[in-house]
């Protein structure tokens, strides 16, 4: 690597988790600084904007509950993505996996006629299965034919978007919705319970936290977790020791896609109570969750923390839209900058960088 003289770069032998934490915080602060320029461009003082975001997301009961509502899908998807990323599968398709999860849930809710007590479990199972299937396809193509996973998962997002649009404008359009592109409303039995006075559909939240804990233990302590780590850390050693990369990739994508599907079930059964157009269901949860998983450094437990952080940011976007008249898309800009900074910060995790010139005597 070519480096200027005032920089000294050396490979690190190891790094403590605290340093990783510190570097991540540094990346976020830098991103906030840069994003501040955008607020300035809109003629809003960044300090005021950040003040509004924090107050709006954390300063009131409503703020906190809405933050958690945003956090739920990010958590459920993000936890799954940590596993996929650990197995070196770059799943950029969580958005599509979420959407097919909503389709499966709506299908079960509207057309299955399952007994009421079984309705919610059936919707979750169907959503998981649909998301997992959506994810396993690219996994299989990568394992067997070496087809790039980033491209296949990403493109399948658009297929899922088209599928949902076709359904809500076409065959599934609800007769009772007076021409709107919605399905009919789900019955009460197909709606998730919420914490009273909020939009927190707690069963999905519980699934997310449970999945985080379980997957943390699975990755650290179990046979299959060991295999996932070996495949992810060194595929050649995995092959050498007889671990099937195909099997592990399929499994990781089943978990990752399945959880994204579950997040979709939560959104339609907990928030909307119907299937509606894709951009109303998801504000890019599947993409933001990539940053959630990345910031968590592929640790499922840490995803609880990072998904909350991004819940704050998304909620903050809602707030500044109203209070300062800024576009919600600024959230995407902000998220993009954070991801950029995080990837940049990898340098500091792998290398020790020291600043400060000592003059070279020629």
């Amino acid at each position: 690597m070519r480096m200027p003289l005032w920089l000294q770069v050396e490979r690190r032998a190891s790094i403590s988790p605290w340093k990783v934490f510190g570097i991540s915080i540094g990346a976020i602060l830098l991103a906030m600084l840069l994003a501040g320029l955008f607020f300035q461009l809109f003629g809003v003082s960044p300090i005021r904007a950040y003040g509004d975001i924090v107050r709006g997301a954390l300063g009131s009961k409503l703020g906190i509950t809405e933050t958690i509502r945003r956090m739920i899908p990010l958590l459920v998807i993000g936890v799954g993505l940590t596993v996929a990323f650990r197995a070196l599968f770059w799943n950029i398709g969580a958005e599509g996996q979420l959407l097919v999860g909503t389709v499966a849930a709506a299908g079960v809710a509207l057309f299955s006629g399952i007994p009421e007590v079984l309705m919610i479990p059936a919707m979750f199972i169907a959503g998981f299965a649909a998301g997992a299937l959506w994810g396993i396809g690219p996994a299989y193509l990568k394992a067997k034919l070496g087809i790039n996973d980033v491209i296949t998962t990403l493109l399948l997002n658009y297929v899922a978007i088209a599928l949902v649009e076709w359904l809500v404008y076409g065959p599934w359009k609800g007769p009772t919705q007076r021409g709107f592109a919605y399905t009919d409303r789900f019955s009460a039995a197909a709606s998730l319970p919420v914490i009273a006075g909020t939009r927190i559909h707690w069963p999905t939240l519980a699934i997310g936290v449970f999945a985080a804990v379980v997957l943390f233990v699975v990755v650290r302590r179990t046979r299959v977790g060991f295999e996932i780590r070996v495949v992810g850390e060194n595929p050649d050693a995995a092959k050498y020791s007889g671990i099937s990369q195909t099997k592990i990739t399929l499994l990781a994508m089943m978990i990752s896609g399945g959880l994204a599907g579950v997040a979709g079930v939560g959104e339609v059964a907990g928030i909307h109570h119907m299937l509606l157009s894709p951009e109303q269901i998801s504000l890019g949860y599947g993409y933001t969750a990539i940053i959630v998983a990345w910031l968590a450094r592929r640790n499922p437990l840490a995803a609880i923390l990072t998904s909350f952080l991004f819940g704050v940011i998304m909620r903050g976007g809602d707030v500044i839209k109203v209070s300062l008249g800024l576009p919600f898309e600024l959230v995407d800009v902000f998220n993009g900058i954070i991801l950029f900074m995080l990837i940049g910060s990898e340098l500091f995790i792998r290398y020790r960088v020291r600043f400060g010139a000592r003059r070279e005597v020629a």
Binding site: R2, M3, L5, Q8, E10, A13, S14, R221, T222, R223, V224, G225, F226, R229, V230, E233, N234, D236, A237, K239, Y240, S241, G242, I243, R354, R358, R359, E360, V361, A362
Partner: protein, 501 residues
């Protein structure tokens, strides 16, 4: 270089090293793996920054912030593992990263003339338009040397340059280095091979555990003295080997064919038998099918024709796991990249193959305590030195990584051991230990296929020697009757009948 100190977490790699190299000499830097030779040279080449100490070049104190700075001080380095772009041509590799002041376009006429001049002067013939992947390892090394010379290097650091070469290529390299120093260049030559020190160098500095223990004139020392300085105790050069007690046939390979990674034929009808209690050495220049042979036998590569029978079981094209479960141990060529997971701990690397057995896994939960006890036992038995069992494999020295691989592969008393370059790049102490371990396995009754490019090693350890060239067996000779020159000729493609005729 004076008082150089370099710390890595948990290791003091250089502990106040003084190194004085005179202009126009070949100066060997001798030491075991982990003694700090490479670290010291990486500091000189600007890849690492020293924690203390100073570097003086031609009487002036300098600070080498980067390899670019090193080159501006006319210090060049040829690494043990080459840094070439294999899809580019030789001349493209040589000018890579240089700005010649020609704008965005590369002009090869002038560069080609300079390359030709350098190549001719120093005996480094290589076709400038050939792509690097087409070249043999020896030729690639020449490209690396040319690269440094092209940048007007005046001090040339060679990191273990002979480990990948045939005896003939080593001779040619030494010839080149001698011409270089006659022209006033200075060569620093890192090695742990005593014969090379004696043959090639003018002076030698011995490093041990991060300290420079002595600098002596080569003419005034002996192999024995250097070995003592390097290891810190007396070294036995001959490996004690009992007469072979051959048992039944362990492995029977019939007309084996396989392709290499590029889909070209790499094994073209290999046939041999291996008995229990026998070491069969496979000699050959690298890239003649040895690697593919080891991979086919261990399930990492498909055979396109032929068979390999282990005792009574056909293991042709079984999976790596099935073959390992049949009691075949594999010490892979690339022990770090293939044989370990560098980011995982010693403990976890030791159970890389046995993690799913009942010993280490119940109800698909890993048994951490069993893994810990296994690690403690293996670390004691195989003398793996590391702070503790949780140390990441990437922080181990080459010798310790090989001890780790051996400890893992040899537990469970395998019937067949496929050992590829088991001592490649290891220091004297570790080499001695690895060879001892292989002989123990032989005495226990294992059949051992020893693939190595170190002919001395093959001659010392093997009972029979198989020479392979372009995927064909040129001959199989008894080790007692083997003559080095004849093996060399067979390695270069001459058939056994012609050689002995």
């Amino acid at each position: 270089m004076r008082g150089i100190v370099k710390r890595f977490p948990g290791v003091l790699a250089n502990d106040g090293v003084d190194l004085l190299v005179r202009r126009g000499e070949i100066h060997c830097l001798l030491g075991e793996n982990g003694a700090g030779k490479t670290t010291l040279m990486r500091i000189l080449y600007g890849l690492y920054q020293p924690d203390a100490g100073e570097i003086r070049l031609r009487g002036e104190t300098i600070r080498v912030a980067s390899p670019k700075a090193a080159l501006s001080h006319r210090i060049g380095m040829v690494h043990q593992h080459f840094h070439l772009v294999s899809t580019l041509s030789v001349e493209e590799n040589i000018v890579l990263g240089l700005s010649e002041g020609t704008g965005p376009f590369l002009r090869f006429r002038r560069t080609r003339a300079k390359i030709h001049r350098l190549a001719e002067e120093y005996g480094l013939e290589v076709d400038p338009t050939a792509k690097v992947w087409q070249l043999s390892v020896g030729q690639q090394q020449r490209v690396e040397i040319l690269k440094a010379l092209y940048r007007d290097a005046d001090v040339l650091i060679m990191d273990e340059p002979t480990s990948v070469l045939t005896p003939q290529e080593v001779e040619a390299l030494f010839g080149t280095l001698r011409t270089l120093v006659e022209d006033g260049l200075t060569v620093i030559f890192i090695t742990h091979k005593l014969d090379e020190v004696m043959e090639a160098s003018h002076r030698v500095t011995v490093l041990r555990k991060g300290k420079a223990v002595a600098t002596v004139n080569t003419a005034e020392t002996s192999k024995e003295e250097l070995a003592r300085l390097m290891v810190g105790r007396e070294v036995v050069f001959r490996v004690e080997k009992d007469a072979a007690e051959l048992g039944g046939k362990v492995l029977s390979v019939q007309d084996l064919h396989a392709n290499n990674d590029r889909g070209l034929s790499a094994l073209q009808g290999v046939t041999f038998d291996l008995c229990s209690g026998e070491i069969l050495g496979v000699a050959g220049v690298s890239g003649n099918g040895q690697h593919e042979l080891s991979e086919v036998l261990t399930g990492l590569r498909r055979a396109t024709r032929g068979s390999a029978i282990l005792e009574k079981k056909d293991l042709t094209n079984c999976s790596a796991r099935e073959i390992a479960d049949l009691g075949v141990a594999h010490v892979p060529t690339e022990r770090i990249r293939v044989g370990t997971v560098p980011t995982m701990s010693i403990r976890e690397n030791l159970i890389l193959k046995s993690y799913r057995t009942p010993d280490f896994c119940k109800w698909s939960i890993l048994n951490e305590k069993a893994a810990y006890e296994n690690a403690c036992q293996a670390m004691t038995e195989y003398e793996i030195s590391a702070p503790h069992d949780g140390t990441a494999a990437k922080n181990l020295s080459g010798g310790n990584i090989q001890r780790l691989v051996l400890a893992r592969e040899l537990c469970g008393c395998p019937g067949l051991v496929v050992a590829a370059h088991p001592t490649y790049g290891l220091d004297v102490g570790a080499t001695e230990q690895v060879r001892k371990v292989l002989l123990e396995q032989r005495a226990r009754g294992a059949g051992i296929l020893l693939i190595s490019e170190d002919l001395d090693e093959i001659l010392q350890l093997s009972d029979r020697i198989l020479v392979i060239y372009e995927g064909r067996i040129m001959g199989i000779v008894d080790a007692q009757d083997a003559v080095l020159e004849e093996l060399g000729l067979m390695m270069a493609g001459t058939g056994q009948q012609e050689v002995s005729a």
